[in-house]
């Protein structure tokens, strides 16, 4: 999943980006509200983490513009303001969650994960296809009871394909959701990653193929026949 973090305090932004990336998310970050607004127009983020007091444009205004533009991406407000009136104002503008500084990094990750599930209308953190099971909370993948260790980006790729199970996902969509803005759009990083993922989840020669290629369109993950 691809996230946007808009937080003007660099000392806070850096560890949060590090934690999100270590958890398998693709993260874009900025410290300026106006720049954040431009980024929401350019990319389809899965979750946006937003500070309220921002230079350029405050978080409330950014959220108001997003919702007015029809952008329904879940938004988590991350702010030092904890007054009830502030929370109510944020939630009424269309925020999905609110986290007050300072916070435990695990709580932030759990909330981001929950918001990510909400975007794909899921409540359970368990994603299953055939004999393969992915636990979004524990960040584990098992097939026939055997745990499969996956690097963060392959985990994110598998998670995204499972969230879109039965739907053809284009390379562009995968790039949008799995890789941050530093990845070149001209690279074949998606094909390489899908290939690596197929190898990783095929624990035996008899393992049924789960990820299928739709030529000219993208990839789809399906229940084995």
């Amino acid at each position: 999943m691809r996230l946007l973090l808009v937080e003007d305090s660099a000392p806070l932004r850096q560890p949060v980006v590090k934690a999100l990336k270590a958890s398998g998310y693709a993260v874009d970050a900025t410290g300026d509200g106006a720049e954040g607004w431009e980024m929401t127009k350019d990319h389809d983020y899965d979750v946006i983490i937003l500070d309220i007091m921002l230079p350029g444009m405050d978080g409330h205004e950014l959220l108001r513009r997003m919702r007015a533009a029809g952008n329904e991406t879940p938004v988590l407000f991350l702010t030092a303001k904890d007054a009830i009136a502030e929370r109510v104002a944020g939630l009424r503008l269309g925020a999905d969650d609110y986290l007050t500084k300072s916070f435990a990094i695990d709580e932030l990750l759990a909330r981001v994960e929950a918001l990510g599930r909400r975007k794909y209308a899921r409540r359970s953190p368990h994603l299953v296809v055939g004999d393969l099971e992915l636990d979004q909370a524990a960040k584990t993948v098992r097939r026939r009871g055997c745990q499969i260790p996956l690097p963060p980006q392959l985990f994110a790729l598998l998670e995204y394909l499972l969230l879109r199970k039965g739907q053809v996902v284009s390379r562009t969509e995968i790039e949008e959701h799995i890789y941050d803005e530093l990845v070149s759009p001209m690279s074949n990083v998606v094909d390489t990653a899908v290939c690596a993922l197929r190898r990783a989840i095929a624990i035996t020669d008899q393992s049924a193929p789960l990820i299928h290629t739709r030529r000219g369109m993208g990839y789809v993950i399906l229940e084995p026949k």
Binding site: P11, Q14, P15, A19, K101, F103
Partner: protein, 463 residues
């Protein structure tokens, strides 16, 4: 102290009673006087009729010959029953005639009979209290004068006066009761707005400081008091709002670096392979920033309570300002800000050097930090009321910002992105100025290019 209601009742109720008693007595004595006058007038008429009766007969002889005028007079109905009496005496004082209703008894005689009527009170043997009029009646033909007296009973007049008195007492009591009731009701009605103000004040709390008492509906007497209360509420609301803003600023000022320290530490613990010495350096820098904020607040708290520790001495301003300017020269160069000093050598005052240094250095630091690059900061001291002033361009400042300049932790940038300072410098300068009895003021004037020019000045009442 008694309540206004009790005090008014305590004065007005006895007052009403006294007024009522005085009115009753006045009416009663007037009525008694009128009754007396009426009795005397009737007595005069009866006496006149008696004289007329005596004149209409000739004194022809001894007793019994005075007829028929006197007989007809005494045959009148009034002399047949108690109420009106007559008696005639001859020159020797022997009773000659008396009205039948005297039943042979005598009327009380005056000490002496004269030609003019003598009026006096008396008591008859039948117990009737009477008013009498007695006089001599001269006879013609050399006969000695006769004497007669007429009397009228007081029973009827006394009964009327008694009735009047009882009526007046009853009326007075009823009047007092009605007045008291009206007074109680009037006081309750008149004091209702005061009670309403009291209830409204009792219901007010920190959450309702925006409410005000409705002055228009109040009586004129308490309107000024309630207007002052409204002023007090406005000041309280402003004070609470200032404290709320301060709490918000402080939360932001402390929470963001704390969150950064916590996140950096937790990420380093959770993913140790990603931790680096840069994380430790970051944590140390954030801790130093927190320390700076907390130290600033502590110094501010001390400055607000150190009025008893001030040591005043005569000192020249110029060397102190020059020293402070030198301290900030490096930072000014970094920001490409030109420092221009206009220092009067005669400027000086009796003050605490330590606190004055804090004021001057914070004002200069504030100007150097906030003046736009390639602009000029003017620092001046004078031998006048306006001791010291710092002038710098402030293009982003508005007139609405000026009242907030000396608030603790206030910053023009609501996002508080600049982490190099916390917004305590001007508050600290103002606290020190107050401790020294100096006044710190900020003034924003518009330049020709519509940008603002901020002047922060220190004035002294000593000068």
């Amino acid at each position: 102290m008694k309540s206004i209601r009790a005090q008014l009742l305590g004065w007005l109720l006895p007052g009403f009673v006294v007024v009522c008693v005085a009115a009753i007595l006045s009416v009663y004595f007037s009525a008694e006087k009128a009754t007396e006058a009426d009795l005397d007038a009737r007595l005069a008429r009866v006496a006149g009729a008696a004289r007329l009766a005596l004149r209409n007969q000739a004194a022809t002889g001894p007793i019994g010959t005075r007829a028929p005028g006197l007989r007809a007079f005494l045959a009148k109905e009034e002399f047949q029953s108690p109420g009106q009496y007559f008696q005639l005496w001859d020159a020797e004082g022997t009773p000659e005639r008396r009205s039948p209703n005297l039943n042979g008894a005598d009327l009380p005689r005056p000490a002496a009979f004269t030609r003019d009527a003598v009026r006096y009170d008396g008591l008859l043997t039948n117990g009737d209290r009477v008013r009498l009029s007695a006089m001599q009646y001269p006879q013609s033909g050399g006969h000695p004068p006769l004497a007669f007296a007429v009397a009228l009973s007081r029973v009827e007049g006394d009964a009327q006066l008694s009735q009047l008195l009882s009526d007046l007492i009853l009326g007075g009591v009823a009047c007092c009761a009605v007045l008291c009731l009206l007074l109680v009701l009037a006081l309750r009605f008149a004091l209702r707005p005061l009670a309403h103000v009291g209830e409204q004040a009792a219901a007010m709390g920190t959450a309702s400081l925006h409410e005000r008492f409705a002055v228009e509906a109040l009586p004129d007497e308490i309107r000024p008091i309630v207007a002052r209360l409204n002023d007090l509420m406005a000041r309280l609301e402003e004070g609470f709002e200032r404290e709320r803003r301060f709490s918000g600023y402080l939360a932001h000022e402390l929470r963001t670096p704390l969150a950064a320290i916590r996140s950096t530490s937790e990420v380093a613990l959770k993913w140790p392979e990603q931790a680096s010495s840069a994380d430790h350096a970051e944590i140390a820098q954030l801790a130093a920033r927190l320390q700076q904020t907390v130290d600033g607040l502590l110094v501010l708290a001390q400055a607000e309570t150190l009025s008893t520790e001030i040591v005043r001495e005569e000192m020249a301003l110029r060397p102190l300002v020059e020293e402070c300017v030198a301290l900030h020269a490096e930072r000014a160069r970094e920001r490409e800000v030109t420092l221009t000093a206009q220092l009067d050598a005669a400027a000086g005052l009796q003050t605490d050097a330590r606190l004055l240094t804090i004021i001057v250095t914070n004002l200069i630091a504030n100007a150097v930090e906030h003046a736009p690059p390639r602009s000029e900061v003017t620092i001046a001291c004078h031998a006048a009321d306006r001791l010291f002033e710092v002038i710098n361009a402030a293009p982003s400042l508005t007139a609405e910002d000026v009242p907030h300049l000396f608030e603790r932790l206030w910053r023009k940038d609501a996002a508080r992105s600049d982490e190099s300072h916390a917004g305590l410098g001007l508050s600290l300068a103002q606290s020190c100025a107050q401790a020294l009895g100096l006044t710190l003021t900020a003034e924003l004037t518009a330049e020709l290019d519509a940008s603002g020019l901020l002047t922060v000045s220190v004035t002294s009442p000593q000068k």
